[in-house]
Symmetry: C2
Subunit: 199 residues, 2 copies
């Protein structure tokens, strides 16, 4: 016996999601069947709308339903700093803390020679153009991840931007707040010592 | 900054799924945006179709897009045995091993006094009716889970069915194949000793 076609198709759709295997997909499919009609319709509509109405902001590469995005259209934001992140999600992570009020630029990835990802595969050209045409920008904060690829990308960007006389900074390395020194890895400890500040 | 509405709605929809929290929902939503148009449309269609085209078989309670279901319409299946399971998924688990060729009956749950679930909340009435009107059925195999609730439900059904002169059996308890005695719990070991067979 096979599952009836409608459920087999739904299981198949769920299985295309990352981290969802056959068992989870089956569980989600059966859960869906028991959901109320309104929720299922809303889910289907949300899928279609997300694909149809969302695109990348032509200025910063953030995801948006209007162009330019909400942040770039906001005149109250600090127009002198641009914070560069790898992913759209990182914008939200940083903006959520309500401490940074400048602009963003999303690279959509990092330089990764091993995966054949070069500068032309990232949203770098538009960053350079943005810096060239917008005199208000005085500082670029590079907030790529603390991975070898993120580090390499930060170095590459710094070398590219600095000659234009724009200040380039990098997020601080160090111990995570609330973490134990005992469990910190050597590299993190080294960076924490290097970056020590006076109290 | 908030996520644009289309993505916020999609995150919200994903969060209604079991075991999906905010972080996973966000990850899935961003993944969805990067999926190709065809896959997203297929996903939305599958959701709608699963809700619209699937219902429970009027005979056995299994999920189906035609009524009666595939199994009940199949004359080559052994019409003399009915195997009773808790969930639709259990039908698939048992049928997959290709050893049992009889019919099924899905209870859609178990008796659970603590959750206020009584016989009237389960698909029991239709089972009794089925046994009363179908003389071909000679044996009912109760395959509820090996939990206190599953056990209680099995006892309840046995008491209900036996007076009609129909054989009632229960799946065997014992060690799982490939398992270590060292790690088996006491109840399982006890049942394994009780149910020992001659070799």
């Amino acid at each position: 016996m096979q599952y009836p076609e409608p459920i087999a198709k739904l299981i198949d759709s769920y299985m295309r999601l990352p981290g969802v295997g056959n068992k989870t997909a089956t569980r989600l499919a059966f859960f869906t069947i028991d959901m109320d009609q309104e929720s299922v319709d809303g889910f289907a509509d949300a899928l279609i709308a997300a694909k149809k109405d969302l695109h990348y902001c032509s200025i910063c590469g953030n995801i948006t339903d209007v162009d330019p995005c909400e942040i770039d259209r906001d005149p109250t934001r600090d127009q002198s700093t641009v914070l560069v992140v790898e992913q759209v999600k990182d914008v939200m992570s940083i903006d959520r803390m309500n401490e940074y009020h400048g602009l963003y630029h999303v690279l959509h990835g990092v330089l990764s020679p091993s995966e054949g990802k070069g500068p032309e595969d990232l949203n770098i050209e538009s960053l350079i153009k943005r810096l060239q045409t917008n005199d208000a920008i005085k500082e670029v904060i590079i907030a790529t991840n603390a991975t070898p690829e993120g580090e390499g990308t930060a170095m590459y960007l710094a070398r590219l931007i600095k000659p234009a006389g724009i200040k380039v900074t990098r997020l601080a390395y160090g111990l995570a707040v609330g973490s134990d020194i005992e469990y910190a890895d050597e590299m993190t400890l080294l960076k924490a010592v290097e970056g020590r500040t006076e109290i």
